[in-house]
């Protein structure tokens, strides 16, 4: 019985929280513009820049951590041979 009561209370709380967010977002004026800016920015950053221009070099060129470690160690120990300036 107590368990059911607690569950019902928790359900009401979740409902109140959801309504709080829903009404808050619905009541926004300037906030809509700001959210649009945020969403466009996140889309540009994660769907375009990250995917097409900023791959993680070590993760895309090497499959294992050992291979990555070997590559970096090579860069550290043979800097003159393994690096180019341009």
């Amino acid at each position: 019985m107590n368990c059911m009561k607690a569950l019902a209370q928790a359900g009401r709380l979740v409902g109140r929280i959801c309504r709080f967010y829903r009404d808050g977002f619905a009541g926004m004026t300037l906030g809509r513009t700001l959210w649009t800016i945020i969403l466009i920015k996140l889309f540009v950053m994660f769907a375009i820049l990250k995917v097409f221009f900023f791959p993680n070099y070590l993760h895309t060129h090497f499959e294992t951590d050992q291979a990555r470690a070997d590559h970096v160690a090579e860069q550290l120990t043979r800097p003159a041979n393994s690096r180019t300036n341009n």
Binding site: Y21, L30, I37, M45, F53, A69
Partner: protein, 512 residues
């Protein structure tokens, strides 16, 4: 000018990082500082129940939201750049910063998602006490979310609590406390957050001064100025003392940076602190006769005091640090380079021995590496002079930051004095100065980061890893392309912020 610029990949990558970091820092100080000011406004509203303080709180919250929306996630671009342009560095420090930065991101996200929503949506919908608590939590959470990135930056300048693992080619954390609580990290965090409070106070004063000059929202503007000027003055005094402590730390762990920001070529006892000066750009550490400055005015003995807490003490100059100074027990860069090269050779030999299964040879080479590993980074320098950062830029950035810090402190005092006298509205000159004060604060903040980052060149990690080795093997064209993409993106975002912000300021608080 263009002929003298080094247009290699590493410099484009540095330029891109500087562009992103400086753009990011346009928003961060306002976000960090404004949250405290809003929390104070909100507290006064809850204490007094005055509708005017409520309107005022909501108005500054709105400007805060605009700044937050445009600035949010701009720091993530820096992480993209680490993975693409600085992959060697990212790999090497991943063990130290990867987890804390991820945890910080998650905590910041949940704190912001919860308390930001209550702060903005909670008017008349949650209890006043819980609403106020949420506003304070936003202030605390925002400032805490800056901790680890500043600890990471401090560690790069003073890499304590780590050991290099030659098998994984990574710096591994040996002591969390040494990394998180190093005096350099604490100073960096407190300096960044207190100077952010100054910048945000200047922003509030700038907007309020503009209203006073136009005879709009007089009462609200003066109330805003009282809170902002008091907090700004406290933050200014704290930042000044904290800056003094930072200078002392730099003198202990980055003496080359201190010498560069003061244009000090020859070490001196009773060294003076330059007040104003015009740097001789032709001068290098190799020149014997050329003067360091075309003109300079200095406070005698003050640099010695700042660096050592003693007026008569010796402060090493760039020549002492490059060439060495036996009397002062300073090892020259040439000797450090030699030991660095030995460390690199030992590391190479160790890895080869490990690969061939020769355990005893590996042990010998590892011992040799450990003897010289503190100088690892010097092994990559091509000449001792490479250890000197750009002197003129470091010098001017430092002096602009300090001078503007003094002007800003006086500005806060001026506003409080004339407000107390009841004649602030009549002081048009001060209100006009107040309108541009915010930009002075932004310039001081950007100059501060130039001091921190340019002053530590050529190092990505002080003494251990130069930027030329920290980078990825990419073509210069790839980095140039993304540099200009970012430039365009940042300009568009900035125009969006400024236009929305100006529109809301123009509308003012009452109509909101």
């Amino acid at each position: 000018m263009l002929e003298s610029m080094d247009l290699s990949m590493v410099n484009w990558a540095r330029a891109q990082f500087a562009l992103t970091a400086m753009y990011h820092w346009l928003f961060v100080p306002l976000t960090l500082g404004l949250t405290w000011i809003i929390a104070f406004f909100h507290t006064i509203y809850v204490k007094t129940g005055s509708e005017e303080w409520k309107r005022l709180t909501k108005f500054w919250m709105k400007l805060f939201a605009i700044n937050f929306a445009v600035g949010v996630a701009s720091g993530i671009i820096l992480e993209f750049e680490f993975g693409t342009n600085w992959s060697n560095y990212s790999w090497m420090v991943g063990d130290i910063f990867g987890a804390p930065l991820a945890v910080e991101g998650i905590i910041a996200f949940f704190m912001e998602a919860t308390f930001f929503a209550v702060m903005f949506f909670g008017w008349n919908r949650v209890s006043k006490g819980f609403h106020l608590l949420s506003t304070w939590m936003v202030a605390i959470g925002s400032n805490l979310s800056a901790v680890w990135i500043l600890v990471a930056n401090a560690w790069m300048q003073y890499p304590v609590g780590q050991a290099f693992n030659p098998d994984t080619a990574r710096f591994e954390m040996q002591s969390f406390a040494d990394v998180a609580l190093s005096p350099f990290a604490i100073n960096k965090f407190t300096h960044a957050t207190s100077s952010s409070m100054m910048t945000a106070s200047l922003f509030v004063i700038a907007v309020s001064s503009w209203y006073l000059l136009r005879w709009r929202h007089q009462r609200m503007a003066k109330r805003s100025i009282v809170v902002a000027a008091v907090l700004g003055l406290i933050a200014s005094v704290f930042t000044m003392f904290n800056g003094d402590e930072t200078t002392y730390e730099i003198a202990q762990v980055q003496p080359m940076k201190l010498a560069a920001i003061e244009g000090l070529y020859e070490g001196e006892t009773n060294a003076g602190l330059v007040m104003f000066g015009v740097v001789n750009r032709e001068k290098t550490v190799k020149d014997e006769d050329m003067k360091s400055f075309h003109f300079a005015a200095e406070f005698p003995g003050l640099l010695s005091f700042l660096a050592t807490r003693s007026f008569g003490a010796f402060v090493p100059g760039m020549k002492d640090l490059v060439n060495g100074n036996a009397d002062q027990k300073i090892m020259g860069v040439a000797e450090k380079m030699q030991r660095g090269k030995e460390a690199i050779a030992s590391l190479d030999a160790y890895r080869a021995a490990k690969k061939s299964g020769d355990a005893s040879a590996a042990e010998v080479h590892l011992a040799a590496f450990n003897e010289n590993k503190a100088f690892l980074g010097y092994g990559y320098l091509k000449s001792p002079e490479e250890a000197v950062p750009p002197v003129a830029l470091s010098f001017y950035a430092f002096h602009i930051m300090v001078s503007l810090g003094g002007v800003i402190l006086l500005l806060f005092v001026g506003f409080l004095y004339f407000l107390w006298k009841g004649v602030l509205e009549q002081k048009k000159w001060l209100l006009s100065l107040g309108c541009i004060g915010y930009f002075l604060g932004m310039i001081a903040g950007q100059a501060g980061w130039i001091v921190a980052e340019v002053g530590r060149q050529p190092w990505a990690i002080e003494g251990l890893l130069p930027v030329s080795v920290a980078r990825t093997n990419l073509s210069v064209g790839a980095v140039q392309t993304t540099f200009f993409i970012f430039l365009a993106l940042f300009v568009i975002m900035l125009i969006a912020e400024v236009s929305i912000m100006l529109k809301q300021i123009s509308i003012g608080p009452e109509e909101n």
